[in-house]
């Protein structure tokens, strides 16, 4: 599924849910599996999402939740998050449980236009594997992280 569908309009403070329930395919630029009911997996080493929100006056905190794909043949997942081309976070995930991960985005790291700002998020997951390659069924997608939710909040009170 490598098709640009849309951007995700985003109101600061609310959470957007990956999967058919909310985001669906909107804003999923490339590197994603088909959205399932309440989550979506990456498919390949790079998954990109574009969303648009209002121009910030303060730093934003971007938080996302999900679970890494781990197995005997894949004991860890490395994840790097790039926002508008800037490397803002790195995590090494070794526990098969839900994780809540976050980064702070400074106003100068955002692209403003007409009072709105576009955020191009790219998760780099070089340790993604095909379940079929590690003896787990016949799934040939390259899985690294199961994305469930994304939240952006003002880091300090935003007016």
């Amino acid at each position: 599924m490598d098709k640009v569908v849309d951007v995700v309009p985003y109101e600061i403070g609310m959470s957007r849910f990956f999967g058919q329930t909310d985001i669906g395919r909107a804003g999923l630029l490339h590197g994603w599996s088909d959205p399932e009911e309440a989550h979506v997996w990456n498919d390949g080493p790079e998954a990109a999402l574009r969303l648009i929100t209002r121009k910030p006056r303060t730093p934003y905190r971007l938080t996302f939740e999900g679970e890494p794909f781990l197995s005997k043949g894949c004991p860890r997942q490395d994840m790097t998050l790039f926002v508008n081309g800037l490397r803002l976070g790195f995590w090494r995930l070794t526990e098969p449980r839900p994780h809540t991960l976050s980064v702070v985005i400074e106003p100068q790291q955002m692209n403003d236009r007409n009072g709105m700002t576009t955020l191009n998020l790219v998760w780099y997951l070089p340790t993604s594997v095909r379940p079929a390659d590690v003896g787990l069924g016949s799934d040939y997608r390259e899985l690294g992280f199961c994305f469930r939710m994304l939240t952006i909040t003002a880091e300090v009170a935003d007016g």
Partner: protein, 402 residues
Amino acid sequence: MKAARAVRCLGHLDVSADGRLDGWCCLPDQPGHRAIVDIVVDGQAVQSVIATRLRPDLRDLGMGDGYCGFQIPLLARQPRTARVVEARERSLGFVFGRALLPGDPVARRAEGRLDAVADRLAASAASLALAYRGQPASVAESFGLLGPALLRGHAAAVGPGGTPPVPGLAAAQRAISRIPMADLGQVARPRISILGHAAAPVDDLAAALRQAAAALAGLDAEFLLLDDGSQPLAWLLSTRLRGLALIRRQARLDAGAFLNAGLCAARGDQLAVLSDPTRVDAHALAHLLAPADPGTVHLGATIGRHLREAGLDGFDEPPAGEADVEADLAGMACVLARQSFHRIGGFAERADEQDGDVWQAAGIWVDFALRARALGLQLVVWPARRRFRESPVAPHAAGKNP
């Protein structure tokens, strides 16, 4: 005022004393749809949740498969001064629940400042018909929208011993369906809040609210209805009038707490409290509300009578204006700026009149007026009837309420 076709979203929000949010939300047209609920504090989204928690009680009522509840702790990142929390269904942008956050009720906020004018108040205290004792309980639980009302109606329909009482949910729905559906409008940041009392028959109430919505269309108004149970069908009005917020009076709330609950839930900069919306001419109300004057508190004729009976006088009369239309203001209780309400400190709670009618509870109104006067606010007492010019905001909407 736009015509509404059907109720597309049902739900309810409650806040427990420890700040936990409990509620449910479903879209009757899409029973399998999982609603996404955004929690909005003082107009700003602070978190979101998918309403997927099983609510067997709602399943038994036919609300889809019953997986439409939610229960979340309120995060600590809302503003310190936050008072009102709302639940908004995302796909429709429909606010289905509103409640007060736990904390000090407004009636206590002014206590320290009022000490500074204690001497002036003391001079008037002898004439007060109440003893203001403070320490009011949280009023967060006083709110309810359609959700609990439906449950209450369902319970009533079953009744003890299998005896179906009247009216019951089905009968109530049949009765309420006579009322044409209408959209009172939803304003993200209302400038004016109209707080009415559900005292008149629901048909008259609905007509009055529709007319008021038309007359105030240019003023970003929101509408709230205080339901003390005197009109058995009032709790269903919000199914016919989209955008109407219903505030139920719970038994433990005294008159002052009930008024405070309603006024705290209102978000407008200007507040109009109507003891009977069917007896207030909408375009006359627009005249009172359009100029924002935080230094003036307008009181209705009934409240003026309370003040006179308490031996108080010297209140101002309304300014003489051009007179084109005879307007009814008998149902107006009070019009004031929100900041004045907070300065005054709200209405005294737990006063002597525990169970009295809100509008006949003279003590809380006398106390309110005295505190306002002590703070230097101008008090204007309006007569029950008054001549006005045509409406400054919507001349086409001028006319008498039914």
